[in-house]
């Protein structure tokens, strides 16, 4: 039941900022088919998506993510709260959560790793940097490591 290596992964992005959302999608376009990246606008939507609550109850439209890119600073439910809920949920806790944020605060890094996040990435300042990050993410999570199906 393991996802075989070298198969496109599905990435769920929790990001409230429209610009960042656009930049992330643009960057991933170069490595992943468009339909493999889904965006939600905050932590609450993220949890609804993962728990299959409306409007995310259609599995074809909203497939199960292989990894989650999580922004920390979001309205309603912020990244840390969402992370805590995911890691407290037996069905969701095995999904790798990658913190993707503007922060490079030591406290945030420590806290999120302690809470069970898989990586901590500070948003690069250039588009080229962003492209490099998406390439590495794609390379690592779809070609290097084994993920639960």
């Amino acid at each position: 039941m393991l996802k075989s290596v070298d198969k496109p992964i599905h990435i769920l992005v929790a990001e409230d900022d429209e610009d960042d959302k656009l930049l992330i999608i643009k960057a991933f376009e170069r490595t992943l088919p468009k339909e493999k990246v889904t965006c939600v606008e905050d932590g609450e939507a993220l949890l609804r998506y993962l728990k299959r609550m409306p409007p995310y109850d259609n599995l074809d439209l909203y497939p199960n993510p292989d990894i989650i890119l999580l922004d920390l600073n979001m309205p309603r439910k912020d990244g840390k709260e969402a992370l805590a809920e995911i890691k407290a949920n037996d069905n969701l806790k095995m999904i790798p959560v990658i913190i993707f944020t503007t922060s490079n605060n030591e406290e945030d890094i420590k806290a999120t790793y302690k809470m069970g996040s898989s990586s901590f990435i500070t948003k690069p300042s250039s588009f080229e940097g962003l492209v490099r990050v998406t390439e590495e993410l794609e390379n690592y999570w779809s070609k290097t490591v084994m993920l639960p199906a």
Binding site: D20, L23, K26, T102, S125, S126, L130
Partner: protein
């Protein structure tokens, strides 16, 4: 505000001394007056004695006359022995009187006269007795002439005794008057001086009271000022923390849109490069360059706001030589590029963190390299000695009870006008155009902030074209 006039300690001292002197003078005058009283009392008693003795003498002469008469009439031998007895008494009394009046020439003369008269009387008595004993009666001895002589002799004695008494009485009245004057003056003098002493004493007490009050007031004023100062310092500290927080948050939040400007210009560049015409590409490049510079400014500002934060856990003794040696290894290429020489003397240990002091020397060395003279290999010398008291005194905000190192970073670069020596430590202050020398102008501001944090100070000295010297004053570690 008009200051109330309070006595000085000097005034209080003078009051006390005046009081003391007055009491001493009062005691002296009282003692002296008491002496005078004693003296006049003795004089009076003396006069009294003279009068008494004179009276006794007179009585004794009368007694003699009586005894002689008794003998002449009765021929009883008892009268004669009484007579002899009083004869001796009279002589003794005259001797005594002569001694008593030794200081009075008039009385001496009177007494000498009295002695002669008495002796004459005695001779006359003895002549009478002798005649009576030889002839059995005074027949032919007593006559009108004789009687006259006898009476005159007696009268003369009476007169002279009267004179002596008169003189002594006069003296008695005089001396009594002086005694009474002195006795009367005593309470007046003592009273007057006591009054003065009490007045001045009260003034002293009042002054002391006022002085204490003034002291208490000034103490209250001082503690009030101290309290206000402490409040102001607290306020400043709070403001500083707030400012740093503001700088941190502001620069952090500024990064956000800036990142997007950069990212979208990149995207534009990537996707529409061929489609941009004319100056379009130039403008896009300008946007990117401006964004890069703004990023640097924000990063520096963030770093500056962090430099002031005190992390007590990170503070430990820093071996400056070790920190600089590691730093020089890391920036070896930059040093070689400028064909620079860095010479470091033995430096001591200071309190702080390795990272921060590394940054201090990195900024200073980078500065020296950056502002080196073209075509001249730069020489950077770092020296250290004990800071002279006169230098530390110049900076009143330094704890004057500590001993300090005086570290100097000396270069042979282009230097700067000494009028800019303070300006270069301000945030984003640059003395040169961006095209000539890159950088935001935050390095020295951060350097000063770090050194200030560890109770030190940094200042610079330079002459344009003649190199610059950065002076670092840092407290020595007390071991």
């Amino acid at each position: 505000m008009k200051e109330p006039k309070y006595p000085s300690l000097h005034q209080v001292k003078i009051y006390s001394i005046v009081t003391l002197i007055l009491i001493m003078v009062g005691s002296g005058v009282s003692y002296w007056t008491a002496g005078r009283i004693d003296f006049y009392t003795n004089e009076l008693m003396h006069t009294d004695k003279v009068v008494k003795r004179t009276g006794e003498l007179y009585a004794s002469i009368l007694e003699r006359e009586t005894n002689i008469r008794g003998y002449v009439i009765t021929k009883d031998q008892d009268f004669l022995s009484y007579y002899n007895q009083s004869n001796i008494d009279a002589k003794l009394l005259i001797d005594e009187l002569q001694v008593l009046t030794i200081d009075n020439a008039q009385q001496q003369r009177n007494i000498e006269q009295l002695r002669n008269l008495v002796e004459e009387r005695i001779r006359s008595f003895e002549a009478t007795v002798s005649y009576l004993d030889t002839h059995g009666s005074l027949e032919g001895f007593v006559g009108p002439t004789r009687t006259n002589v006898e009476l005159t002799g007696y009268k003369l004695i009476k007169n002279i005794v009267f004179d002596i008494n008169q003189v002594e009485n006069k003296l008695f009245i005089q001396r009594n008057k002086r005694l009474v004057n002195n006795i009367n003056a005593l309470p007046f003098i003592v009273g007057l001086i006591s009054l003065f002493s009490v007045t001045i004493g009260l003034m002293t007490l009042f002054s002391v009271y006022q002085y204490n009050k003034a002291q208490k007031n000034s103490y209250l004023e001082i503690s009030d000022v101290q309290k206000k100062l402490r409040e102001k310092i607290q306020l400043l500290d709070d403001l500083n923390v707030e400012l740093e927080q503001f700088a941190y948050v502001a620069s952090h939040d500024l990064q956000e849109p800036l990142r997007k400007i950069t990212a979208f210009s990149d995207l534009l560049n990537l996707q529409y490069y061929d489609k941009l015409e004319g100056d379009g590409l130039l403008y896009l490049n300008r946007i990117t360059a401006a964004a890069v510079r703004m990023r640097q400014l924000i990063t520096d500002l963030l770093e500056y706001s962090r430099a002031g934060k005190i992390d007590l856990d990170a503070i430990r003794p820093v071996m400056l030589n070790k920190v600089i040696a590691e730093l020089l290894e890391d920036i070896e290429i930059a040093i070689q590029d400028k064909s620079a020489q860095v010479q470091v003397d033995p430096l001591g240990k200071v309190l702080g963190s390795d990272t921060e002091f590394r940054q201090v020397f990195q900024n200073l060395i980078a500065n020296a390299l950056k502002f080196s003279k073209p075509a001249v290999s730069s020489i950077i010398t770092i020296t250290s000695c004990d800071a002279e008291e006169s230098i530390v005194k110049n900076f009143t905000f330094l704890d004057q009870s500590l001993s300090y190192y005086h570290i100097q970073v000396i270069d042979n670069g282009i230097g700067f006008g000494n009028e800019h020596a303070e300006k270069i430590f301000s945030v984003f202050q640059r003395l040169h155009g961006k095209k000539e020398f890159e950088g935001t102008g935050i390095g020295l501001a951060i350097t000063r902030k770090i050194i200030e944090k560890y109770q030190g100070w940094i200042y610079a000295e330079s002459v344009t074209g003649n190199g610059a010297t950065f002076h670092i004053i840092l407290p020595k570690i007390t071991e």
